[in-house]
Assembly symmetry: C2
Homo-oligomer: 586 residues x 2
């Protein structure tokens, strides 16, 4: 039917065009927008779907959900500014009728489909930043598995129509969590940066692989330049050194341990751990569990990851490190590696890098810094990152870059290739016409490697270094605001004294029923259950989310982190109000 390329696609023969759009109408449309923004319609639409008769586009002579949906919403004229006149997707089937690209005549339905998707996504983006929407619409696993309002997660042998696919996409977002919502404080990776988002869309569209310059020339160079810039900010001379973007901070930390081992015992690469003495690693009892995981995975054994004691603020006590190094040596172990944390997960603590670096130099150990944040004022105040042998730097945390975006940075140039390369001839041919030192794949433990650099590069371009700094400053200010608000407030106890070192504010909410109770097991047990209960209520009401956890002998407490650029003081106020509202009767 549509085999003739010169024939306009059948969609063009429909009545899809927008009427009455002239300059004279701008006031009307603008007015309508205000009307629309007051109702709770699901489609405060940027795109206008016209009242088209779709019946001749039905491939199977039946009405599909999307049709009804369009019929219901087509009376909305879109907000002014941009108007999209769209033909319906009804009738675009994967199995019959029109097909998507690369099919012949697939361009029209493809663009239509993508624009419908963008309509869904831009609506989601708008709602994400809208405080009148919920952070989440919580359901238990069994509820979602049973199929919420026809949302069927099961896969089948037969294809679904594209209308259903779009419905599936709406449902996926509907039952998900808005991690960019101004009141989502659950994780340090929060917020929805628009430039980062656009960068990810481009990355997906380019759909390539970082392993060779050959198929990712621009991205490989962006990675190289960005890593150099990051090394300059760390303070290594001329930004020289090595590095890669890896799929997350845990893998970056794992790289650091592998590289340290290769530096001191290169024969382990070929001969295994039996070629080395019994090695031990050191990290804070407050550090991220990934160092322990790396120790287990790489063959050191988790027991040989020795945990360092911390002060009341969660910072490693340097004397404890030195004592444990000496102790390990006396027991016949060989200390290899120290992980220092610049911004610990729970307390946001900064280990005293300078003192730790002194000890590492004295005992000839590799110093890695697992760094939450790169910010000049922190470098001055707490840390001398340049003294590290390697640094994990996660732009997907405080810098607000979409997940995944983590870099491992190493001071010694060329060591990653030494550590990891296997010289697979089928991938990394030495006889290419370009400078193959740009092929980075062989220094990774991955083969295919996702393009994580572009969104970060694009955000850096759009914000400048200064923009990242302003963002982090704003988050720190908000944390300070929270700290000041609750430190002396009735019903709150801080987990540690003094101003937090980073955005982390750790506190207990004490319900009225516990306020007069003397300290002891009963109170501890009751208090331990308060944060989980409040959190469950938050999730079920969908109003906000904040993390909690125990730490050492401290019962469950809230850990507030701020990294979301959408958050304001009013959101902090809201969180406190919610905690008190929910916790008052516990």
């Amino acid at each position: 039917m549509f085999g003739d390329n010169s024939c306009p696609p059948p969609c063009n023969t429909l009545g899809f065009l927008q009427k009455n759009n002239s300059l004279d109408d701008k006031g009307r449309l603008a007015g309508q927008k205000n009307l629309l923004s007051c109702d709770n319609s699901d489609r405060d639409a940027r795109f206008r779907l016209t009242e088209t008769d779709f019946s001749n586009l039905f491939a199977r002579g039946e009405r599909h959900p999307l049709t009804r949906h369009i019929k219901n919403t087509s009376s909305f004229t879109g907000a002014a500014g941009v108007t999209l006149v769209s033909v319906s997707l009804v009738g675009i089937k994967s199995t019959e009728g029109l097909y998507l690209l690369p099919a012949k005549n697939g361009e029209e339905p493809t663009i239509q489909f993508l624009l419908e998707m963008v309509d869904i996504l831009t609506n989601y983006v708008k709602k994400t930043f809208d405080r009148s929407t919920k952070v989440l619409d919580f359901h238990h696993p069994h509820q979602l598995l049973e199929g919420m309002e026809g949302f069927n997660l099961e896969l089948s042998d037969q294809p679904e129509s594209l209308e259903q696919i779009l419905v599936d996409c709406r449902d996926t977002l509907k039952y998900g969590v808005r991690t960019g919502h101004p009141r989502f404080f659950n994780q340090l990776s929060s917020g929805l940066d628009i430039i980062g988002l656009a960068g990810e869309w481009l990355t997906s569209t380019a759909n390539t692989n970082m392993f060779t310059y050959e198929i990712a020339p621009v991205f490989v160079l962006m990675e190289q330049l960005t890593l150099k810039k990051m090394r300059e900010m760390i303070g290594w001379p001329d930004g020289e050194g090595d590095g890669l973007f890896s799929p997350g901070g845990a893998i970056s930390n794992m790289y650091s341990v592998m590289i340290a081992r290769y530096k001191y015992f290169p024969e382990v690469k070929t001969k295994g751990m039996s070629a080395a003495p019994r090695l031990v690693l050191f990290t804070s009892e407050h550090s991220h569990y990934s160092i322990k995981k790396a120790g287990a995975a790489l063959g050191f054994g988790s027991e040989n990851v020795i945990l360092l004691s911390t002060d009341e603020r969660g910072r490693v006590i340097p004397a404890d490190l030195e004592a444990k190094i000496i102790d390990a040596k006396q027991k016949g172990y060989v200390p290899l590696f120290v992980n220092a944390t610049a911004g610990s997960t729970v307390y946001g603590a900064f280990d005293p890098i300078n003192e730790i670096a002194d000890i590492c130099e004295k005992y000839n150990l590799w110093l890695h810094v697992d760094s939450l944040v790169k910010q000049p004022q922190y470098i001055k105040t707490y840390i001398k990152l340049c003294r590290a042998n390697s640094v994990t730097w996660n732009p997907h945390k405080m810098m607000g870059v979409p997940l995944q975006c983590s870099a491992i940075l190493v001071r010694e140039k060329g060591i990653m290739a030494g550590c990891n390369s296997m010289c697979a001839g089928y991938l990394f041919q030495p006889d290419k016409q370009y400078d193959v030192t740009y092929d980075t794949g062989d220094k990774a433990i991955q083969c295919g490697r996702h393009v994580d650099i572009f969104k970060f590069w694009l955000m850096w371009k759009a914000k400048g270094t200064i923009g990242f700094e302003q963002h982090i400053d704003k988050c720190l200010d908000l944390s300070q605001y929270l700290y000041n608000k609750i430190k002396n407030r009735e019903g709150y106890e801080m987990v540690f004294d003094g101003v937090p070192q980073h955005t982390n504010v750790c506190f207990w909410y004490i319900p009225p029923s516990l306020r007069g109770m003397p300290d002891g097991d009963e109170r501890r047990e009751k208090l331990h259950r308060v944060a989980p209960k409040i959190k469950a209520m938050m999730m079920e009401s969908g109003t906000t989310m904040v993390g909690y956890q125990p730490q050492g002998n401290k019962v469950n407490f809230f850990r507030m982190v701020v990294s979301n650029p959408a958050a304001t003081q009013s959101d902090i106020d809201f969180l406190i109000d919610e905690i008190e509202r929910m916790g008052n009767d516990l």
Copy 2:
């Protein structure tokens, strides 16, 4: 200036509306589309950018690149079907004037910006499938680093305007490689699946993390159901078992080695490799280098990854495996793990899984299968995947899912948590209100884990199992077509005899100057240089891309793989024509 929320955003006051769009115009627009598709304009635009006076939107009183661009292109009326009337982004600054969300009044510029980006991306998608466009516009690293036509890769402290950001995005795509182009055959991960692309856009917009059900409820369940479905297809009873999506096949293979070690020597997790005897791993000399990398990383040592001999078709010789197991045992090593490959990287060879499984059972070894493809006919013909203890399955290869999408599947339930969990209380609280067995994070070696499932789930919904099978069948047919075309053609020699087991077709092109030359070192040396030279010419002309490599004692040959759904017989013909055109005078 725009501080009043009730006031329509200033963009609305512009003359942006499309004129003369009525039902009567559909023919004219449709006709124009045909006209447009004959010209080589950069903007065979889906979106219509109107001839708006943008001067009052300049924040800094100067013209920016995007303005000129819009001025230049605004005379194009868009293709029929969808028309987007867009206001310009000029004047939307990160530093002054309007701001993107989460700024007040940021909704309008945000949606505008995202739609501009979508315009760029949909144009790229169209060109990707257009055979009249190049696969790539090759430049050497130093050329791109010097800045092509103002494309500046360097980062700075100060922000760039959003116009410049959009120009940067266009340039990024311009100097990249179109991995979805019908004539891109360079890697097995090729093609641009529209559903997969849409899925990635949604994933980016949702921007969450797989580690807990709490913040990724829908995605966690999709992963669980999809993994179960995959295990059912492998043939494990009731689809029971374990698994995860990981950032690529190399990491999936690494998981398999870790899990095997944990199964036989669980104490290694805590005590390190010194708690185990000296372990050896086996894999084909033709297998992916990731097994060797895993051996090096995990502390076995790459020398303890023993390479198995293959037959002339690149398949492991089972007797060689058994001999090497016996030999290792005699030397005091403990054989632990065998990797069998179902679809090797270069030859596309399928190791004889059944015989290998027999040997693994006899000697009590872990059998892992690194599987290129999951397809019923292959399971019947070559492989009994269900006999494996673990399987790597990469949907980003033959199934055409965008990178990254790889799963590690394990027959034994619960073993991944046993192997990897560290029970970090700050992340995986046991006292949540929902069933925390859905929190998958602690069985991964990653902490943050990117959502790789959604695009795959969505493609599976849209295509059905049947759609994936049809796609793979089509790729196999095309490879067969290529094989039949060149097997007896003058100037071609096949690297191995017989019909390829998979889509891989490995061949030498023999230029006329070498055709009469007797075999020997001189011919081998010259032939070794032919494929790199042709490949360089391909890249410089930008017409097509295909991989080459040496293998063992075989000099450089072309390895053709077909996984791109856009490829047709005419593209195979084109490739052969190009090779002959470029190679004729070598």
